[in-house]
Amino acid sequence: MEALKKTNTLLILALIIGLAFHGSSIFFTLEYTYDALIHLFFASHYAADWFEPWDYSWYTGFTVQSYPPLIHQTIGLLSYIGGLKFGMFTVAIIGIILFITGIYRFALLLTGNRRVAGYTALLAVFSSTFIETLHIFGQLPSVCALSILLHAMPEIYLWTKTGKRRYLVSSLSLIAVTVTSHHVTPIFGMVFFIFPLLGMAVMDEAREKVETMKRVSFKVFYKALKSCFWRIVIFGGCSLILIITCILPYWYNSKRNPITQVPIPHGSRDNFLEVTSSGLVFFVIPWGILLFILPYILYRFYSKRYMFFGLSFSALTLLGTGGTTPIPLKLLGETAFNILTLDRFTLWATIMALPIFGEFAFRMTEGDLKDRIQSMLGRVYHRILGGSLAGGLLLMVGFTMTLGYFRPSQPSKIKMLPIVNFLSQDSHDSWRYLPLGFGDQMAWLSAQTNAMTVDGNYHSARRLPELTTRAIERIENSKFRGVEGIGSLQQFLTVPEKYNLKYIFSNDKFYDPILYFCGWQRLQQLENGIMVWEKLNVPPLPEILPKEKTPLFLNIMWGTIPVLTVILAFVINIMMLWLRKLRARKDEAPNFLKLSVAYTSFSKRLIIISHVWAVIILACLVFGLYTFYIKNTAQLSPKNVVQSYYDALDFKEFKRAHSYLDPEAEVTIDQYMLEVSVTDGILSSYAKLDSIGIDIIDISQAGAKAKVSTTWITPLEKIKKDYFHELIKDSGKWYIKPKKKDSDIPPDQLFIANSTTFYNHGRRKITTQQTHHEDVLKQPVLEILAAKLVRYKGQYSIIGELQNVDDVPADVVIKATLYNDVDKELAIHNAKYHMKHKLMPKETTPFKINFEGIAWSSTKDTMPTTFDPDQFTPMSLDEQPVKFNLQSAGNVANTDLYKSVALQNLEFSDYGINGSLYNGGIQEVTIPQLLVSYYDDKHELLWVDHQFLDEGVRVQRKQFFNYQPLDVAELCIIESSLENCFVNGLPNESITKKVFPRRDYSHGHAQLQPYEGKGYSFLKFDINSYIGNPK
């Protein structure tokens, strides 16, 4: 008994190691986690305005009452001392301490043995589930809430057991802190932790009434339950009240803004056998070494005393398997299954198993298991076994810690200061911005700037239907979310005026083409390498923005209760403890210490079962590794080499790609890299391999042919392309035969070109005052030459032609509105990429405006499973549009005015129009776009179509294309009129009269290509060139 009173050295050791290990490594991991920076952003909100729940920074405004505030407020409070990041790291360190001590107390409660509890604390430091939650996911509130819940467990147990009021008070005070940290933890904690705990308490009560555990029958248990019943009810009732009142504003907000959004796919819901990466992250890592001792855990949990924990543990384990089995879906129901992230069940299961693991470690190192194994299998075997377990544990620690290093889940760290400075300069924060390719670091940017974004990083608070109807977390990473992502992004890019969106910070050049073709232009590259894009003609944000008001008392509750719960819990649990200690009153040992089991004879059968189980697990592991090897060893089979080659190309690892090429072909790495460096275009620079189908034909000993059907995702379109490869086998390895490159050679070595360039000062005088009116450039005058409302394939579009009739280049924005016959507005949209947005003086462009609805606005619509960026959701119009209004606006453009691509040749064949483009200038055109206009026999415009070319056009070279003309016989012109067309707010007619009174229409007609097509007589080709790297 004396030994038990002493300070537990193992716990102290665990704390020291835990603080040294986690406390130092969080500085290298926490900022790269998924969630930590989001909490930091929330904290910055509280630090700036404690009682105001409305935040304008994200999603055109949202309420922070959508997430329990304690952790955020604590970081916010600490930020007054040493800044936001200081607050975050401090909270993380507090979380680590709370976790280690919490698991110690939980283990002590469960086993009644301080030594075992010490082992548990030590193992908890190295448990892969904790490492993953903290260092990879960064779930600070979840970690803290769970730790405090663990602290509450002994108090709850003692209340149930003894009925002493101080235990009720202390347990409730801790529950209150848990609730204000994280709402899900106490709710599910009630079910999975507290219910079994209460069960165990009752069981212990029953045990005390009889001599041995074996005598505890159902009747005895029922009697004990009756004696504890009211305590349980009181505790349950009080907890429920606390859960409701402590975060009442949260519930109020959930009721008012119910989460009516399309579920966002989460890896924890995958079938882990199919999606092995999810299986690794959400199953293998959290379980780690525990997988090997699963039989022991189950054996112990299904002993009579822990029976309820056993049930809870089994349920948690099952739920944690996600979509691997249909059970979680059936248990939780469709809604809960799609809202909850199931990884938390695994987290709880593994945390719950830790005390048993601690017990196992104790018995293995110094208990009966050691003796048993030594007697059965010898001392050496025991040491080897112990060593391998410890090694396995350390391996998992190392693997989990470095996962983020080898497979970064986030883009590398971005220096935010240049962006923050840019936003605060020259009133740039009067518009909204959008980061692209920032990962979760966007939250850190938001925390530092006053400017607002349309995006956000807390998807439950999304409000814009453009976002809530799609399964995307952020627009920022839309490329990973397929059609919904890019579709959502395109909507924001096409109609930025609606959101006052003017600036885009692009950290991923993948998005560049879509930005260009939607009419955005590069502004400057910041010193941290981030490219700033801007859009002209976007009005600034209004001074007063709408917000949702919440009652004052709720705001006060939200601002005060969470911190109060902490102070109260501190007073009740720690101050009281000190006071009692100071009074030197002899404290009786907690009740549960009496119930420890003596570890005397370890079951032989269990050892055998455990060994069999371990062998099975090892076999699975070896098999997994073997299949991984077979699949991934590049040159083992023809299929592998093709797969690896395309994989290397996809990830731009050209050196690796070159290593798969036939060495006999004598293409040196230098030659190969050169060939790669001169290929540019949407496929080679902006495409992501979506799927690859490899057909191996004619396989023989020495060679094979492969037909490779690929689909590539580009920001603009989904491209399907087939390739053929010859493969050869040389000394056991398969190789790809390199292909011949286009050998076209331009005649000249040095090209000389003159060009007209433009520059706009902005403001000439450096002043913070409003721009002088004489520094505001006149809007270039445009003239709409034709505008028609047409219906084609059941979809309404407005097509037309427009000319820049001014003397300066113009950036053109066109907005169209549809009306029915009683002038009711039906739809509004802007021209996306069916036009040239930048026009030189007197240049013309065709245009087409498609009326795009918000995709899958009805959540019932089935979503396609694969990526298709150019998938189009036509707006569903209830009524027939008969009229339209066209508003075009010009602004002086001075970039992206490259016009030196010529239509070099055209040939008309039965299988489409073959042509070639020739680049006669000095910039390399990365993505050429063809705009094809269709005209009838009276030279009247009928339709506008487009085609992006897969490959770029290099300087002074040709690029071939094939265009399949459409059948427009079905097309119906509903209205053709220039009456309601406006340019810069002025009627188009007045411009025609004033600027171009004697227009010669025959010029336009003479430029049309006669072509006998289905429903049309003429075609016109216009060329729009995107330059990826302007020089």
Partner: protein, 409 residues
């Protein structure tokens, strides 16, 4: 402002209600204005004094362009002094006042505040649009507002001098103000350039303001071609150049004006190259065709001007070529391709091989570009099993058709 108004209204109301008893007594309310000045100069001190026997609370309601207010008097025996606040006394125009007591109007009158023309005036000048088109129709408008130090507009008819400069001429006009502003349309000139303007009043002048006169639409122009030789080698670059394009007033059209060169080839295809002008000259380029061609070239500034038509012929550079089969007929070698001096053609001549099945069904077009005068096309057996095929080879406009049978026994 609204708050003040509301507050004063409440004040009135409260005072009215509290003094209700006094009114009922039917007290003598005779009040007399002590001075009768009808005009004041903005910014000066304006005091209104009244003499009255009444003991009730008396207020002065004032109202002018600045707004409304209620003033409380400074009492001096039986005299009441009201000082009009600065905000009101600095605003020109009529200023109405009403003297009230117990909610009843005692006296009512108004006076005028005139701009302070004795102090130095300020000129607010606007000129726009900032660019206009040469000719006789377009104009920029020069607007001037003369104000006193309190931003009050000078009286109607104030004469302001407008000056404008274009090339060597400086014009001067005297423009009297009407409806608060003086304005004049500065008409465009037929010559392009820059018009500078300013305004002045007494000894003050505005800053210099500018409008640019851009040339108007281009007129018919000439084009020419420039090429190294007349052979269709598909490699050399031909330059399409316009003469200096001018508008009808002989101004060179604005830099950057887009000129479309439209080429009609002998097969009826419309090709095009385009270029913006620099100093009126547009210079576009296009490759020589790769086969014998006749091109008719026109250039347009769409809607405004058209060039002369230029016809240009290209002679075939490659007059014939041979082809041979190897590797069981599966490797077709086209060439050597020789050009007009029997030199090997530059690399990159396109060789197209259209493959048809025995039954005449189109299968595929294989394209290769020549290297050292040769083009090698492989027809792999994996995709083309043994049998007969018809091939059409197109190179430099020369079409050759042949049938090949693969038989690999």
């Amino acid at each position: 402002m609204r708050l003040i108004y509301l507050f004063s209204a409440i004040l009135c109301f409260v005072s009215c209600s509290s003094n209700e008893e006094h009114t009922s007594e039917g007290e003598n309310q005779s009040v007399e204005l002590l001075q009768h000045q009808k005009t004041y100069v903005a910014g000066g001190k304006i005091d209104l004094s009244f003499e009255t026997e009444s003991t009730s609370e008396i207020y002065l309601l004032i109202s002018n362009a600045f707004g409304n207010s209620v003033l409380t008097p400074i009492k001096d025996k039986n005299k009441l002094h009201f000082t009009i606040p600065k905000n009101f006394s600095r605003k020109t125009g009529p200023c109405h006042w009403i003297l009230v007591a117990n909610g009843e109007q005692l006296l009512k009158d108004s006076f005028r505040i005139e701009p302070k023309t004795s102090a130095q005036a300020t000129l607010e000048t606007y000129f726009g649009p900032r660019s206009i088109t040469a000719g006789i129709q377009d104009y920029s408008m020069l607007v001037n507002v003369t104000t006193d130090p309190f931003d009050n507009v000078y009286p109607e008819g104030t004469e302001v001098i407008f000056k404008s400069q274009f090339l060597n001429s400086i014009s001067e006009y005297t423009v009297p103000s009407k409806d608060l502003i003086s304005w004049k349309n500065i008409y465009s000139t037929t010559k392009s350039g820059r018009i500078l303007v300013n305004t002045s009043f007494k000894n003050i002048t505005s800053k210099e303001l500018t409008t640019i006169v851009f040339p108007t639409l281009g007129e018919a122009f000439e084009i020419e071609t420039d090429r190294n030789h007349a052979f269709a080698d598909g490699n050399q670059i031909m330059v399409l150049r316009s003469g200096i394009i001018q508008d009808k007033y002989n101004n060179i059209v604005g830099d950057g004006t887009m000129v479309n060169f439209i080429i009609k080839n002998s097969k009826g295809a419309i090709l095009k190259s385009m270029a913006p002008t620099i100093n009126g000259i547009a210079k576009a380029s296009i490759l020589h065709p790769s086969e014998k061609e006749e091109w008719q070239i026109d250039a347009y500034i769409t809607g405004a001007a058209k060039s002369n038509s230029v016809s240009i012929d290209f002679d075939a550079a490659i007059t014939d070529y041979s082809y041979e089969f190897s590797e069981n007929n599966r490797l077709i070698t086209v060439g050597p391709l020789v050009s007009f001096m029997d030199q090997l053609v530059p690399d990159g001549i396109l060789i197209q091989l259209e493959i048809f099945s025995e039954t005449g069904q189109y299968l595929e077009t294989k394209k290769v570009s020549s290297i050292k005068g040769l083009g090698k096309i492989e027809v792999p057996k994996e995709f083309y099993p043994d049998g007969s095929y018809r091939f059409i080879c197109k190179t430099a406009g020369i079409i050759k058709e042949f049938e090949v049978t693969f038989n690999e026994e």
